[in-house]
């Protein structure tokens, strides 16, 4: 289910129409006008990047890094091969927005990537697509064929002398490939194990060439920014948090789905859009930005607005915009056990603190959940976490530790009850 309230990506997209993804429908919505205007005016690359910078667009994949600034790191005058890469390897539990972009508006992404290619002087781009969404991969390839046939992709685009081509690469089941350097390794046909940074991809990326990697939603926002102007995009959100954002709402709400709303919208309003709490149950906790973001108690969330600064001030992060809502039927020990299992399963095994640490976290939480917990276990979890976070090549270890720290901080009584009484404080539904 997809509901789009007000936004830059899904404005005018009627998702009930099976052909809404097609080129003709996209052009009827004003699609490819931004690309045409840039190419016809021979707009200087610096001006395109400045426009993206001025829009306040921050990376929609999770880190929130300013997109325009990232683009400016690319050596534009570098004479050799350079690449622009899109990260549609969407596997952060709770996140399902990029899939809807591919399903309902793939040409916005294609146009955004062509504009990015123009701005950074690259001739080739790749879109790395999550393994589990094969239908969307095939649909995206069909959209690429449409764009190629219409002269938006390939040699001498629209007769302007600018050439750019774009290809889809299909993943096959590895959460770690959402990390940008693991994604590059995978794109090169290797195991998806992250690289040391520096060097950063802007100087040593795909095949060792300068590369810029952005999230699907970031690229798909670019046509709007160019067509309607940075100011309009900025004004759609709030200062330092430009634009609208797709929020994937899952868990105990009546209408799970994607909601594209202005950054700065109160969480309470988002919850209402999602139909409120399932069957009128009571809100207990929310993970506001994908499973790696620290959990927050429901009453804290109800006072927050959905933007980078507000969520960060409350001690969590907006991340990918995946809002996992939990009611008072959820046992927080059980919920954390499932997340810990996920990180253990998905650790790529390259760094010892992560490979071993995620196993320790899972096993200790598992024994607490199963009535075998020991009084010292909460300290042990803390100690294991301290030996993981910040001590590995990529952030997966940190992502595994954040939930453990936040769950045991905000819901400590449930963990202590489990250890002491060897059973749940909450009568939860799934176990």
């Amino acid at each position: 289910m997809a509901v789009f309230v007000k936004g830059v990506i899904f404005d005018g997209v009627d998702t009930t129409q099976p052909d809404c993804w097609r080129l003709a429908a996209y052009e009827a919505r004003g699609g490819y006008q931004a690309l045409r205007s840039i190419l016809q005016a021979q707009m200087p690359q610096e001006d395109v990047i400045a426009e993206v910078k001025n829009s306040g667009l921050r990376g929609r994949g999770g880190a929130g890094f300013p997109t325009g600034l990232k683009w400016s790191f690319m050596p534009r005058s570098f004479p050799g091969d350079k690449y622009v890469v899109c990260n549609t390897d969407e596997g952060e539990p709770g996140t399902f927005k990029d899939r809807d972009i591919l399903r309902y508006n793939p040409h916005a992404l294609i146009e955004g990537m062509i504009i990015a290619g123009y701005a950074m002087g690259t001739r080739v781009g790749y879109n790395y697509i999550h393994g589990e969404i094969f239908a969307e991969y095939e649909l995206f390839e069909a959209a690429l064929d449409e764009a190629r046939a219409a002269g938006y992709l390939g040699e001498n685009i629209l007769g302007t002398g600018f050439s750019f081509d774009l290809f889809a690469h299909h993943g096959y089941g590895a959460y770690i490939c959402g990390e940008e350097t693991a994604l590059l390794e995978s794109l090169e046909g290797k195991k998806g194990q992250p690289r040391f940074k520096p060097p950063f991809p802007a100087s040593f990326g795909l095949y060792g060439k300068p590369t810029t990697i952005n999230n699907t939603e970031s690229f798909a926002s670019v046509p709007f920014i160019i067509r309607d102007g940075a100011q309009k995009f900025l004004e759609a959100g709030k200062p330092n948090n430009g634009g609208t954002k797709l929020f994937s709402v899952s868990g105990h709400v009546n209408r799970p789905g994607n909601y594209e709303i202005p950054l700065g919208t109160p969480f309470s309003a988002l919850l209402e859009m999602a139909g409120g709490m399932k069957d009128g149950s009571r809100l207990k906790a929310v993970i506001p930005g994908g499973s790696s973001a620290p959990v927050l108690p429901g009453e804290v969330m109800m006072d927050l607005t959905m933007d980078y600064d507000s969520i960060s001030k409350a001690g969590s992060m907006l991340g990918s915009g995946a809002v996992i809502v939990m009611n008072d039927q959820v046992c927080m020990v059980k919920a954390l056990e499932r997340l810990a299992y996920f990180y253990h399963e998905e650790s790529c095994g390259q760094c010892t603190p992560c490979r071993e640490g995620t196993g320790w976290l899972y096993r200790v939480i598992h024994r607490i959940e199963n009535g075998q917990g020991r009084p010292e276990d909460l300290d042990l979890l803390n100690s294991v976490g301290n030996n993981m976070a910040g001590r590995t090549i990529c952030a997966l270890a940190d992502a595994a530790v954040f939930p453990v720290r936040s769950f045991t901080k905000h819901f400590r009584d449930e963990f202590e009850y489990h250890i002491e009484h060897r059973k749940c404080l909450v009568e939860h539904k799934w176990c």
Binding site: E132, F167, G173, A174, G192, R338
Partner: protein, 166 residues
Amino acid sequence: MLTAESLALIDREVAKYPADQARSAVMSALRIALEERRQTGTVPEERCLTTEVIEFVANYLGIPPVAAYEVATFYNMYDMKPVGKYKITVCTNLPCALRGGVDTANYISRKLGIGLGETTPDGKFTLLEGECMGACGDAPVLLLNNHSMCSFMTPEAIDKKLAELE
């Protein structure tokens, strides 16, 4: 070892990458090889990747066999073990679990009479637990034979889906 159709699909993938980077196509090439085996295999042992198939793919791309083997074993959607005609992977990660993902897995398990990770004696079904498929809004979800996402898998929807599979 692979049909002309499969090789043509692999060639199409190779063409996406620079001429000296055929290795980039190994993920797709293994997927295409696996898909051919899934469709043509008559018993579970014939539906998964084998070292011979992996070596063939590696040689076809001109890369060392071990380079293809490490890809086949790193990414979890490649079937390296015998698999049923219908592989059912149920997401039980937290967002799905909050909406009945574990119940879905248990329901299918009872209905087929096999546990997670097992294949029915007739070689028809394999049931697996999966990680986030990026479709949490449609929970509970399951993936059929790697490529077909099935949404809102309530017991009624499961009954209907299983009845369709012959």
